[in-house]
Symmetry: C2
Subunit: 348 residues, 2 copies
């Protein structure tokens, strides 16, 4: 935990930027005091906030730019148009070695496109993926892809498995993570060509991965495996379905406790326990989606999060750096690429 | 609600058949006293149960067969092998007009394959789909397909939309149901060819459907639309993710209340409210997946449900008959098939 880490922040990304970004940076310093920030954004808006946040001001350098990526810019548009948007400059700082990672709450598609263009994908990775943590009965599970790649073939899924495995070993600290492929059943014949092909390759032992086999949607909450691999369409739907179900439950629970005078009394006694329950599933705790497969650390914060949530996204980038995620995945890929120089169609 | 309805029951399907099937039939009679049952199963196991359940015995006719579809039979195997399995005979009873619908807790794939073969698909429907209800903030939403069709094209999705629409109007009693297509974002360009193609056609007004547009995973719990249409891979993952999240929440909530003496006291006061909360999300209440698009009513019960759950599955079949689901969907399809005689590639 020693040494200073520098995080580049897209100060203008997100629904309530730059306020939430700066306040998030302030909160992040409580847990990670050895952090420095490179801020990219509009002076007129950022400077007054820095004046109120002396702790951040002390460790931050502001690079003024008045340009920004809009929430509804198309990725291709954002990529071509702006070489001096706050998002682009923050990513450039990572590419140029001035920052150890970048965090943005801006437009996801633009962030992925620019990060891929600027940071490049790692050798052996065709497409980067978006990953996040899920709370489970056993702790936490990492799932990817969550929307960067709508259609995936078996190769993509195997690469996601490698990325998820390296992430679980470095950041989650699991020595031999188990990896499952999301499917509609556990039998070999279930699913589409992509998942069956990926399973055949992962079972073949050509990768260092401890492959569990197919998992189903309810294995996410059960925490059956450490890493769940899926295409971006299914992963995005699963992530949002879990979020929606959690929200429905939380609302229904809240209304249950205002249902009767007895329930209200019960609430008073159970308040502490219920607070712990809420904290455990607080979506802000799980804020910070990792862009994996790139030659640099990039984390996407939810656009509508608050300072607490944004601080957690910064924490994810710091953890990735501290735990040597990039070194671990590079080593893995080098090993796999040397034993599996080209994908053999026969392996399918 | 008048007139007698006859339901064919696969007495041998499910983890605890025939006991749960018979006890479920008994419970179903409480809510639907004008029901008669045709039972298909092994005399030696069914007769002793009927002796204990005089209410069922009075309105049931048992057709003995010693053959049954096993839980791990492949659909093709189940279809070819057994002309006298309890599942096949129960479906035959619907095809021959002796029963108004069939309910089975057996092998889903086999049920779908046999039902499709025996009952045929409706004119204009290429593939049947599996649908179920989800509890939402606004009430209930129907989602399909949940696993019958792993890969779907735009045509399949449009047909699912028609089926879901007819179901919501007849069984849910919604006059003008809203229909959404499950996707990874709400913008027109999001998703794959199938969802974009289906959206173009549904927007085109060639169907009687009130098309809401794209919805995302969190719209399931929010109850944004009455009907959610998706392919069987995504639908199956979404269904099971929601179930897994609900289970995780329920477990965590339970452990919260045993956390401290204060919380335990709180539980005593809040017990009534919490029971209502649990009841609302009781998966047994949502048991009974509908096989839509067939020339007869067929309902699949969860294999591991209990009598209360199985009774609800019987209730679904009865509701479909009482509310004239088949007549409504036939009328809709006739209308659509006449205005949209062949799918125009240009419509994409």
């Amino acid at each position: 935990m020693s040494g200073t880490i520098t995080i580049a922040l897209d100060a203008m990304g997100g629904d309530r930027a730059p306020e939430i970004v700066l306040k998030g940076a302030d909160l992040a310093l409580e847990r990670h005091p050895n952090t420095r920030f490179l801020l990219f954004g509009a002076e007129a808006q950022v400077l007054p906030l820095l004046a109120q946040l002396p702790r951040v001001a002390k460790v931050a350098v502001l690079h003024h730019t008045s340009e920004r990526v809009a929430a509804d810019d198309k990725p291709s548009q954002a990529l071509r148009a702006g070489r001096s948007t706050s998002m682009r400059l923050a990513i450039d700082a990572v590419a140029e070695g001035r920052a150890d990672g970048v965090v943005s709450a801006g437009n996801t598609g633009a962030l992925m496109a620019i990060a891929k263009f600027v940071l490049k994908t790692l050798p052996g990775i065709d497409r980067p993926a978006i990953a996040t943590f899920f709370p489970t009965m056993r702790g936490e599970t990492v799932m990817l892809d969550l929307g960067a790649n709508i259609e995936c073939d078996a190769d993509n899924l195997v690469q996601f498995a490698l990325m998820g495995d390296a992430f679980a070993r470095s950041v989650l600290g699991v020595t031999e993570p188990t990896v499952g492929l999301l499917n509609v059943g556990s039998e070999d014949l279930k699913g589409n060509d992509a998942v069956r092909g990926a399973a055949a390759r992962l079972r073949g032992g050509l990768t260092p991965i401890r492959f569990h086999g197919f998992v189903e949607g309810d294995d996410i909450g059960a925490g059956t495996v450490d890493v769940i691999v899926t295409d971006g369409f299914t992963g995005n739907v699963a992530l949002k379905t879990a979020e929606g179900t959690a929200k429905l439950f939380a609302e229904a629970l809240k209304s249950s406790f205002s249902h009767s005078p007895m329930a209200k009394i019960g609430y008073v006694f159970a308040r502490g326990a219920l607070r712990k329950f809420r904290e455990r599933f607080d979506p802000r705790r799980y804020n910070g989606a990792m862009l994996l497969g790139l030659g640099g650390i990039a984390v996407k914060s939810h656009g509508s999060t608050d300072a607490f949530g944004f601080a957690n996204a910064i924490g994810v980038a710091i953890d990735m750096k501290l735990n040597g995620f990039l070194e671990k995945i590079r080593a893995d890929l080098a090993r796999v690429n040397s034993t599996m120089p080209a994908v053999q169609p026969a392996a399918l």
